[in-house]
Amino acid sequence: MTALLEMRAITKTFPGVKALDQVQLSVREGEIHALVGENGAGKSTLMKVLSGVYPAGSYEGEIHYDGALAEFRDISDSEARGVIIIHQELALVPLLSIAENIFLGNERARGGVIDWRETNARAADLLRKVGLSEAPQTKVDSLGVGKQQLVEIAKALSKDVRLLILDEPTAALSESDSQALLDLMLELKTQGVTQIIISHKLNEVRRVADSVTVIRDGTTVSTMDARSAPITEALIVRDMVGRDMAHRYPERERRSGATLMEVKGWNVWHPEHADRQVIRDVNFTVRAGEVVGIAGLMGAGRTELAMSIFGRSYGRNISGEVLLNGQPADTSNVPRAIAAGLAYVTEDRKSLGLVLDETIQRNITLSNLEAVSTSGVINENEETRVSERYRAAMAIRTPSVFQKVVNLSGGNQQKVVLSKWLFAEPEVLILDEPTRGIDVGAKFEIYGIINDLSAQGKGVVMISSEMPELLGMCDRIYVMNEGALVGELAASEASQERIMSLIVTE
């Protein structure tokens, strides 16, 4: 097999930031090549250079593709050569159908008139290929993220793809959806599609990748080839963070105190379909210093539960009681929930967690502006000091806290959201997929922060689709299915199998 792609000495600079510095990447024809590295290492940027998002001339270095020097001017240019990228953020139009999305910009039409029969028939073909059973006419917004991701791939396949780039395709997917996607990748490989995958889930990388390139601080650290020696997670981690990491989860002294929060008889109905009950009679407790996990499949209602508790941000006809320190707490709107000592770190940082066009500093202080102001006047110096403190503590990689959040890498954006809620100094912190899209090193840091909170006697509720993470971090795990809690396991008795069996038997 020969190299389909050679990226040589790629350097890309943004104002104040050298995102890529002489990066080398070589991808063989027909392989699955994994690109790994810490948050902000430059993975997405490298792929944007490759796919023409950053056009030739805006970077230094050379791209050799399919035996010739490639200078893509834009995405359509690279797509014409079979290079197709699926970005970290999905780019489907929610109110259009699957078929319409697949052929968006590439419509099956004769003289400008869309041929619906061909569109839907071709779409159905492609959906079969990616293993989706939905009708092509289904609106995309009625699909879960996992299926949307498959639609993105179907869209890529509709364009005669030779080199498919997937930027963190499984970050938002459940375990089983991820497996399906990885299987599909292997299937595509047998059909000769070369693929580059960016992922922070190293077990997945190990499973599908033929070779792995590690990027750190904008430079290539190493390339490993599975054919010559087996690739282990430990090897990847060492190259990623520059040191050996013996443990994935920091040690914590487990000691839990009195009951801090208690939710009783919680019922929630769907905000639009008034007859659909989303949460059914949920009861749970969180003790001081405890990390409580909520496990469940996508769509089990975990986010809905969390958001309905946090200031009734979701649902209607909510009934039930929230007790904090034994007293009924008023959580009827977000300001009151925050005042009562709750905080909720959303799973959807782009649309619910951040004001993207604002600076890091302004995002961090947003939910607790009072703490940096006197009688309504903001003390900007204090504000800067505070955000600098979080930048250091959370290791947010950025030239300054005055950088707009939109320019940060995905993982660093997540750290900004976390900083914002830590700064609000909650008693109970609800984390919804807190390590989604975060690299191993940063995960470790975030686990450390969770442990610190618990050591201070705060309560932490952790919603996660990554079971190893729940098992590694939590004192107790509730299992949720179809809007109800179906089981509770102490850390000592919990295992992936037991959690799954609780979900399935219900």
Binding site: V17, A337, E358, E380
Partner: protein, 408 residues
């Protein structure tokens, strides 16, 4: 990720200019337009009488632009301000001229009514999530109709002297006229309003002082700094222009009352938007409403308040306008909302909310004002004036978008 080093001062300056082109562009455009008209009108533009006029003519636009900026930053728009302005003028006229109410009763009532009008519209926008475009489009028709009804289709006036001074009055000099007259010859003038002159110097001093403070802060926190050349040049130009304009005013009748109103309001709103939690939250609301809400910001209440505020400012503008014309007419404020909105967008605010500055809106309004005034002096027909203004608006926004795409 490594910090890129700037190779030498040259690239630093270019780099800074590229990132801040918008602000300099606006200032530069204003100066260029003023110089242009100053030349083609043979110096009429910057005659003391005309400068005074410029302020009077544009005061109500600027006053409303302050409120409109807040509304637009919050992610909304208000199309009703022209009508509301006319309505309040009509209300004042009917109360004072027809019903013989005292000015001192009428003015507060008008301001409250303005607030209520804003509240009535803001309520639907904030709590019922009805798009502001639609609510205020309805408001535009309703209040246009209401002023017609109030005035019974007639012009009502004139106003008593004490009402007219709102717009046409001048602040009396602090020092006896003899002092000014004594100093005036030094500058080759006949008279000199010491208050205006001193205020000009004081204002320039304050601007320089706060810029220096900001610069010190930037230094302390390693924020990318304006290159020395620009900093000095910008401050020099702004201060010189300020002192020059105030000097010109002082050789005429001194400080118009509206200039004080406008100046004070501009300072207040700059402070409110840039330094208070309230202002910060409005930006967050416009930037990402859902995220703002989940951060504990009372987004509905803020939206509501933005409209109440707009209503009060539209009322002030309405009073100024009526006082200036010395009569209330059913056509007062007609299509003025468009000038106000244009000023805000020329000033760099974003249609989608979350972006925009008070100074920008004020400069944008002045830019439009100078264009209007200059073209009128030149005797350019209203037809061409409209076309040119339209193109200026388009150019400013294109410039914005282009700028943004280059940074991304």
């Amino acid at each position: 990720m490594a910090l890129a080093e700037h190779s030498g001062a040259q690239t630093g300056v270019m780099h800074y200019l590229k990132n801040n082109l918008r602000e300099y562009g606006l200032l530069f455009a204003l100066i260029a337009i003023m110089v242009f008209f100053q030349i083609v009108t043979d110096g009429t533009l910057l005659r003391p009488v005309n400068i005074t006029n410029l302020f009077l003519q544009n005061s109500y636009i600027i006053i409303m632009a302050l409120g409109m900026l807040v509304v637009i930053v919050s992610g909304n728009i208000d199309l009703s301000v022209g009508s509301v302005m006319g309505f309040i003028g009509a209300l004042a006229a009917v109360m004072i001229v027809n019903l013989d109410y005292s000015v001192y009763v009428t003015v507060p009532i008008c301001l409250v009514v303005g607030g209520l009008v804003g509240a009535a519209q803001g309520y639907w926008v904030a709590y019922w999530k009805i798009p502001s475009f639609i609510v205020t489009l309805a408001g535009m028709l309703v209040f246009r109709g209401l002023s017609l009804w109030l005035l019974e289709g007639q012009s009502v006036g004139p106003f008593p002297r004490e009402f007219q001074v709102i717009a046409t009055g001048f602040v009396p000099d602090v020092l006896p006229a003899s002092v000014g007259e004594g100093i005036a010859p030094i500058f080759g003038a006949n008279r000199l309003n010491m208050l205006a002159f001193l205020m000009g110097i004081a204002a320039a001093g304050i601007i320089v002082w706060s810029a220096l403070r900001q610069r010190a802060r930037n230094r302390a926190y390693g924020i990318e700094d304006e290159p020395q050349v620009f900093f000095v040049a910008r401050l020099a130009i702004i201060s010189a222009a300020l002192i020059f304009i105030m000097f010109k005013l002082s050789t005429f009748r001194g400080l118009p009352n509206v200039l004080i109103t406008m100046g004070v309001l501009t300072v207040i709103y700059t402070f409110l938007t840039e330094s208070t939690t309230l202002g910060r939250r409005v930006y967050a609301l416009g930037g990402n409403e859902k995220a703002a809400k989940l951060s504990g910001i009372k987004t509905e209440r803020l939206t509501f308040l933005a409209f109440v505020n707009m209503g009060v400012l539209a009322a002030i503008a309405g009073l100024v306008f009526a006082a200036r014309l010395n009569t209330a007419t059913p056509k007062a404020g007609f299509a003025l909302e468009l000038d106000v909105i244009a000023a805000v967008f020329i000033g760099g605010a974003s249609m989608s909310g979350g972006v925009g500055k008070i100074v920008g809106a004020v400069v944008g309004a002045f830019l439009m004002g100078v264009l209007n005034n200059g073209m009128s002096i030149m005797g350019i027909g209203i037809d061409y004036q409209q076309m040119i203004k339209g193109l200026v608006l388009l150019a400013a926004v294109i410039f914005d978008v282009y700028n943004k795409s280059k940074q991304g």
